[in-house]
């Protein structure tokens, strides 16, 4: 397996001289192709900042992030937009669907922006919606469907351009437990059948238990790492809860 993403010693500061806050403090890790990685931590631990830097939405203060051999911390804004378009897929807590477009059109637009042909687009959309079970709501608008369906539409959109990495920021945050479970199973399918590389930020231990590996963040540093290995999901969940108890068990925290 190739080493796809290397995060080297990155730091992130916010604020001015007197009010300087260190949000990320010398974090380094690697993500392999086809991995399903989770990042856990309490609020304010820096997990969303880390995700934003990985997703090129925010710049680093120091350090480097390599996708294969490309260092995205050195790229110009226009190149970054291109990079995002070709390599990244996003799934957010609040879905980020366009309310004026139907479910199908939301997926089409992501591909149309990449100048793909009509035939290509139609074919991909068909395949994706079948796989994600949203074929019967294609012509509905986001406000007409449930949160779980919206999030699956967001998944389809993230997958549409076969990205190198899918970044998910608290994807189950706005979903009920049934929809959450369905979505996480979708993630598993995406990871196992489509070999998508997924990086998911969450503070929910149940969601995290679907990952293959979990990085625990505290005060901007990685303080622990768990691999699922051959353990069952339930065993992995109890391990996660053990680690969490070390941090005081309170992830919803401050």
């Amino acid at each position: 397996m190739d080493k796809r993403i290397r995060v080297c010693d990155i730091e992130k500061y916010y604020g001015q001289k007197d009010t300087l806050i260190k949000v990320i403090d010398r974090v380094s890790f690697e993500v392999e192709e086809g991995e399903f990685t989770g990042i856990m931590g309490a609020s304010g631990s820096g997990k969303t900042t880390l995700l934003n830097m990985l997703s090129t939405i925010d710049g680093v203060t120091a350090g480097h992030i390599f996708y294969d051999e490309i260092d995205i911390t050195e790229m110009a804004e226009d190149d970054l937009a291109d990079f995002r378009k070709k390599n990244l897929g996003f799934i957010f807590q609040d879905f980020n669907l366009l309310d004026t477009l139907t479910i199908e059109e939301n997926i089409i637009l992501a591909m149309a922006l990449q100048k793909k042909s009509k035939q290509d687009i139609a074919k991909t959309v068909q395949g994706l919606v079948q796989r994600l079970g949203i074929a019967d709501i294609l012509h509905k608008f986001p406000y007409e469907v449930s949160g779980g369906q919206k999030q699956r539409c967001a998944c389809a959109r993230a997958l549409a351009n076969s990205p190198t990495l899918i970044l998910a920021d608290e994807p189950t945050g706005a979903l009920d437990s049934k929809s959450s479970r369905m979505l996480l199973q979708t993630f598993e399918t995406m990871n196992q059948d489509l070999h998508s590389t997924i990086l998911m930020v969450t503070h929910d231990a149940f969601s995290a238990s679907y990952c293959k590996r979990i990085l625990f963040l505290k005060d901007g540093r990685i303080f622990n790492e768990l691999h699922r290995g051959s353990r069952s999901r339930k065993e992995f969940l109890s391990d996660i809860l053990d680690v969490l108890s070390l941090t005081g068990g309170d992830l919803a925290g401050d």
Partner: protein, 672 residues
């Protein structure tokens, strides 16, 4: 606390509604400057027609107040919807309806006072520009003096207050019925996204478009009747409203059919934004189109009048003085002594016009000029039965060659000569295209006949004085056989005659009134033409007509543009979110800029495009009529293109301002 909230709310709205505030300020400025025309002492003294001018300006002001009230009402409803969630929270916290209404009132009071004060300041300058234009049109020097006329200020304040009070009263019930659940939901209602029930609506688009197009073809055909035009215009208004309801459906249909261009770049995004916006605003869009049409029409018509004034007026008054008397041989002794006393005579000539009891030429013009259309086709001896239409004299009008040459030399034209059996036509320039078969006309005389030798179209005072539209010049012998018809005096004066002269000259309508005045569309008629009095009077009358037209046109146009701008600039957070999503999907800054431009341009073009085509056709047809009836040598499209260029400037100004603000709005939080 309530005051503080209202004040803060006004501060927050200020930048969102800047374009609205600027437009209201501009309306105030225009209102103030036109009102100051109304109350200007100098202008009151300048002409007797001042009374009519004030009535016309007041009517224009009523229109303006009406449209401004509509704009204010629109903004009140709009900002209420926008703020509804905020008000719902206030209510949840236990605030009373009355207190919320007060917050709202304070906010509106602050914003409207700002625009009023700004308007007054700008108005002082606009007033000077307007006065300068007015005086230069009247050929009088104007000295700039900035001062506020209390009456015009009060009238402006009154009109402005009426706009607001009307709008606030209109929305009073809205406050009384405030309900937390409704308020919470109202913000969501701003844009309608559903696309159901299109089976019926989709017919609106082709049907209304077809109707408008066929009406335009009807207008272009030149075979229209006024009833047809009236009905057609009325139905077109309805069709405009239907058009926008249908257009939104049509756009959604084409998106649904997944045509190939949907798959290109951000087309899908742009079209969906546009269609939901048009759908929400379908009624407003119709109104905006109609405002644009009014603006285009008003401007073009005033352009026509101005052009006529510049080109034709001088031509109608070649002599400094021309006096008509119905008696066959009148001496004009009294008139001459008055003129000598008031202006000094440098040259004068008394002469008679002749007739031979025939209507040969009258019949020709009644049947050949487009002004009369098909009304008299195939008829003979028309004029004696039409003494009330005052177009032509009862009989054809003739002049002696020697008189003609004397008058020509007074005007500095070359003399002409005629063979004993020839006649010459002296006509208005406008008549010349219709003289093709006039050469067939033969005038019988005692011992033979006169044949056509040609025509002259020099300016010759032909609105009833030297004939109506035309005059037949015959050799002196031939004229001697005819009857004397009426008398004329033409004079050149040493200095321009003042108004007092007109008051001293006898003008006995009962005894000496004119029988005919010719077929000019706009004219100055009377027994006495004094160039130095008539031209300013005529100009004044025209200014009366076209100043209010420009005034209304400008206000309508800016009102329409403001509604468009405000629609785009509010809901900044909603748009920012949408463009954020596009950015996350990988659209770079250049692409985002292009998408914003496309969205804005389409939205801005939407109400103006059809309105422009519609008014273009109507104005083209109107200009053709105008040129036929006034003889102004202009291409029909000239009026239209000038007003289009003028409005395009204002339009671009609003468009660019909106675009810049919009970009600033949606790029507020991007730190990528």
């Amino acid at each position: 606390m309530i005051e503080k909230l209202g004040f803060r709310s006004a501060k927050n709205s200020f930048s969102d509604y800047l374009i609205y505030i600027v437009t209201m300020a501009m309306i105030v400025a225009l209102m103030l400057s036109f009102n100051s025309l109304l109350f200007s002492k100098e202008i009151q003294e300048m002409s007797e027609m001042f009374g009519i001018m004030s009535i016309i300006l007041l009517i224009a002001t009523v229109f303006i107040v009406f449209i401004a009230a509509w704009l204010v009402n629109y903004m009140i409803v709009f900002s209420f919807q926008r703020k509804s969630k905020e008000y719902a929270i206030y209510m949840l916290l236990g605030m009373k309806q009355r207190e919320i209404a007060r917050i709202y009132l304070i906010e509106n009071l602050i914003l409207s006072s700002i625009s009023f004060l700004a308007g007054i300041v700008v108005g002082l300058f606009v007033q000077q520009i307007l006065m300068t234009i007015f005086y230069s049109m009247m050929n009088t020097a104007y000295y700039v003096s900035i001062r506020i006329n209390p009456e015009s200020l009060l009238l402006t304040l009154f009109c402005y207050a009426v706009c607001f009070l009307a709008a606030l009263l209109f929305n009073h019930r809205k406050f009384r019925r405030m309900n937390i659940r409704l308020l919470m939901n109202q913000e969501k209602e701003n844009e309608q996204i559903t696309d159901k029930n299109y089976r019926l609506i989709k017919w609106l688009f082709p049907v209304s478009l077809l109707f408008i197009l066929s009406f335009l073809i009807y207008v272009l055909s030149d075979n229209y009747t006024s009833a047809g035009i009236f009905m057609g215009s009325f139905l077109s208004l309805i069709a405009f409203y239907m058009f926008y309801a249908g257009l939104a459906a049509e756009l959604v249909q084409s998106i649904r059919k997944r045509r190939a261009w949907i798959y290109k770049g951000a087309n899908l995004f742009v079209l969906r934004q546009l269609s939901s916006k048009i759908k929400t605003m379908r009624f407003t869009m119709g109104t905006l189109s109609i405002l644009f049409i009014c603006a285009f029409m008003g401007m073009s018509v005033s352009m026509m009048l101005n052009d006529w004034q510049n080109k034709q007026l001088e031509e109608n008054f070649p002599f400094d003085l021309s006096i008509h008397h119905a008696a066959p041989s009148y001496s004009f002794e009294k008139e001459k002594s008055e003129i000598e006393q008031f202006a000094g005579i440098s040259d004068s000539y008394t002469y008679s016009i002749y007739e031979n009891h025939s209507t040969l030429f009258n019949d020709y013009f009644y049947t050949h000029l487009p002004v009369f259309g098909e009304k008299y086709t195939g008829q003979k001896n028309i004029s004696p039965d039409n003494k009330y239409d005052k177009k032509y004299y009862r009989y054809d009008t003739f002049m002696k060659l020697s008189d003609y040459n004397t008058l020509r030399s007074m005007l500095g034209y070359e003399k002409v000569s005629l063979a004993p059996d020839e006649y010459l036509l002296q006509v208005k320039q406008r008549i010349t295209p219709y003289l093709d078969s006039v050469s067939d006309l033969v005038i019988p005389t005692g011992d033979g006949k006169l044949t056509f030798a040609g025509y002259k179209a020099d300016a010759f005072c032909q609105n009833g004085h030297n004939g109506a539209d035309y005059l037949i010049i015959v050799p002196d012998d031939a004229a001697d056989e005819m009857n004397l018809y009426y008398s004329q005096l033409a004079a050149m004066t040493k200095q321009p005659a003042a108004k007092e002269l007109a008051d001293h000259l006898p003008d006995d309508e009962a005894e000496g009134g004119m029988e005919a005045v010719g077929t000019d569309f706009i004219m100055y008629s009377g027994n006495i033409f004094i160039k130095s009095v008539a031209i300013p009077d005529m100009k004044y009358t025209l200014i009366l007509l076209y100043f209010p037209l420009v005034y209304i046109g400008l206000v309508f146009f800016c009102t329409a543009l403001t509604v468009l701008s405000v629609q785009q600039l509010s809901h900044a957070s909603k748009y920012r979110y949408r463009y954020e999503v596009l950015r996350k999907l990988g659209a770079n800054n250049r692409e985002i800029d292009l998408i914003i431009f496309k969205q804005q341009a389409l939205f801005y073009l939407c109400p103006v495009l059809l309105a422009a085509v519609f008014s273009a056709v109507i104005i083209y047809s109107l200009s053709k009529k105008f040129i036929i009836s006034t003889g102004v040598q202009t291409r029909p499209l000239q009026y239209l293109s000038i007003s289009v260029i003028f409005f395009l400037g204002i339009y671009l100004l609003y468009f660019v301002a909106t675009l810049i603000c919009f970009k600033r709005n949606v790029s507020l939080k991007t730190n990528v």
